[in-house]
Symmetry: D2
Subunit: 249 residues, 4 copies
């Protein structure tokens, strides 16, 4: 399997992560990382059933030990010198929304644990393998981070999530400036709206709202990731915002 071209997607679950995995499976062996087996097993199974190649590895991205263990396993499966064509950091954290003075230190740190430390560990594991394939792959090696409205605005009673998202954007900008000149496409997306996954679609319907106007289809988001991945070195985009046409902003 070592000669496969590889894409790694961190944060595969319902919605965007799953859609990204499916899209990149059209061209790559896709490694799906998620904290729980249940998050990725169906995606991996579906990709493999439909003629693609996918591997799922249970990974706690906030743990150096867990990330190392996952990449050790990948080395065994893919060969020690495997390169990565695309790495997508789509992991996130459930936002904690409460008055700041009621926030515990653990709740506060939750955003940073995944989006700050987790992104660091993911980047250190993937960037050397992305750099290796610069000028080799048909598309530039790409490292893409998933951001949100909270990446550029920090709201009241929402610091844990905002902090994490702001750090992630800081990382993405620094990486674009350090690794862009080496030929790696580093990009950050701002998903400004609610993503249409079964639970949000159901909630909108129950509220009597039109889901077509107000929800972003995961497949449409994925087109943006694929476009970013396939940009030539002559014209890299660092950031792109994505919102449904009916969204107020």
């Amino acid at each position: 399997m070592s000669s496969c071209l590889v894409a790694v997607v961190a944060g595969v679950g319902r919605g965007t992560g799953s859609a990204i995995a499916h899209k990149f499976a059209s061209q790559y062996l896709v490694v799906c990382l998620a904290r729980n087996l249940e998050s990725y097993e169906e995606v991996v199974s579906n990709i493999n059933k439909s003629g693609g190649n996918a591997i799922g590895v249970t990974t706690d991205l906030s743990s150096a030990k867990s990330v190392k263990s996952s990449f050790d396993r990948l080395e065994m499966e893919l060969g020690g010198d495997f390169g990565i064509s695309a790495a997508v950091f789509n992991a996130s954290t459930r936002p904690v929304c409460k008055p700041f003075l009621e926030l515990t230190e653990d709740e506060y740190a939750g955003g940073y644990d995944i989006l700050g430390r987790g992104a660091f560990l993911f980047a250190q594991a993937t960037l050397p393998r992305l750099v290796k394939l610069v000028n080799v792959s048909s598309h530039p090696s790409s490292l893409i981070f998933t951001g949100a409205t909270a990446s550029i605005k920090s709201f009241a009673e929402f610091v844990s999530f905002s902090n994490g998202k702001w750090v992630l954007r800081s990382l993405a900008q620094s990486f674009a400036k350090e690794f862009g000149p080496q030929g790696v496409q580093v990009a950050h997306t701002i998903i400004d709206g609610v993503i249409g996954i079964p639970t949000t679609v159901q909630a909108m319907k129950e509220a009597g709202k039109d889901t077509q106007d107000t929800l972003i289809s995961p497949e449409a988001i994925v087109d943006a990731y694929w476009y970013l991945h396939t940009q030539p070195k002559s014209a890299f985009s660092w950031e792109i915002d994505i919102r449904p046409f009916g969204e107020k902003w």
Copy 2:
């Protein structure tokens, strides 16, 4: 000709405008607007020779009379009720760079004349025809504006150009909020780098610099415009930055 799908590109010359016209000609009859015949005649001729359809109309975008006259002519050729699938405002102005106190009122106004008044006139002429095709075309009706680094930073001794570009971005943002919910994709690009047209390539070569690292290929820019045009309503991007991988920012 009235049943053709139409794209209108303002500011067709060498470089980006010409590349946009060629790209959109793959699917649309392309109307090329430029101040001088010499700017667009070769592009129009090449598109028509290669099996596409293009019309060139000499237009001073800063003049209400000239813009009206051009669209009157288009109505005669395309039918009074012709719709527009995509409109690209790529017109610009030659930056005047001099100490502010040496700037004449005319030099100062130059940026606004094209990028402020011109964009207003272009938008008023195209938006009703874009709105008309919402939900009719295979892709959302799109209105795309070409910005630059100077759209988000204002430099010393450069106010005329910056003013124009800031106004253009203000317009694009307002339009996205007003016409996005109506189904029109309104987007703004930030071209952050030098575009590789014959004169800039030559200048780089003479300076002994590698043009691959430092110039943006017009064709690569155009891929961004086409991507923006083909985004589904579920996932519109308002703004995208584009720079060559070797650019410092």
Copy 3:
């Protein structure tokens, strides 16, 4: 009168402009510019009655001829070589809020006429006289522009006003970079909220709202202008936002 230290305030009316004039009158002869006599006559009269010095000059800031005529008159009164210690551009325009396709060219241009052309004319008239007093006055020569929320966000159906405010901010940034190194303090304020003048106070009261939480007192704004004016060259601020503590943002 030629040995007086002079401050020029453009856009003196009720509210901020009047408060700025009063504040700067504590240290300067204040020149009040406004389109109509009624806007400034009471302010000028009050300053002169209370021991200060003020001159009012009816000026259409959007007209080169009117601005020239006003400064010619000032030269006659103050001497041809009078310097300016502080210049505040507080002029604005009544926002036109309507669907873009119903906007006339004149309505559209209204924002730019005052905030783009007017600011240009004001800056060309005052900057040479501000530069002249660098290192002479007790405080750095200062050129301050009044912005608004619409200076950084462009809303639907609001392009005329936003365009003008974005241009004004572009100007202020360019000037800060060109004239800051020459010792002139150039600053831009973002007034994010409703200013408490008699009409807005009355409207809030009629709506049963607490004016203390939601309105900005003009005197409080003026403290910001005075603080900006008195910053030492070692620590210039370019931009400051101002909002009442109860404002949502």
Copy 4:
């Protein structure tokens, strides 16, 4: 001592922190927090000698235990219900500048430890005491954070510092939105330039550069903090940038 009005300054050392402590000592008992005794002992001693009141408490802001211990001690000295009129978070971390792939996890985390966790701990300790004095003090209770150019731009090979500064700004914005409406002034400064402390002045002189043009005087920075602290509730500023007039930006 419990009836004293109290200001708390975190990150007192040479330069800004020391200058802030001296300035606020004109009106408050100043509590100086720093990791090492040497950082604050001279400041505390000088304030007390010159008729002010200051207390120094050695505190590792990144440690919940250390912060708790420091505030326990303050409760003993100042009374359990002491209020705080102003709290300034001026702590920072020495930037680590190296290629990302050579960065250790500890080096990476360094920025967040002080600026993310430290600011959280400081805010949780001070905000209840700041809220308590709203509408009691002569000036609004104020919580001010010191940012830098790296708070709004993330540079190559600089992620640890940028991450921390971006988080700090996210916090400051969220706090302004949550505690501003409660009457607490929350502000963030962007210090864009090198601060003139003995070591930087010496370095500039050795490089043959004029220190007057290029260094920010700590006393001038402090004027900005004092201005922010004394703003009335009617006109709060959230953010202010500060740079020497000769700075390129």
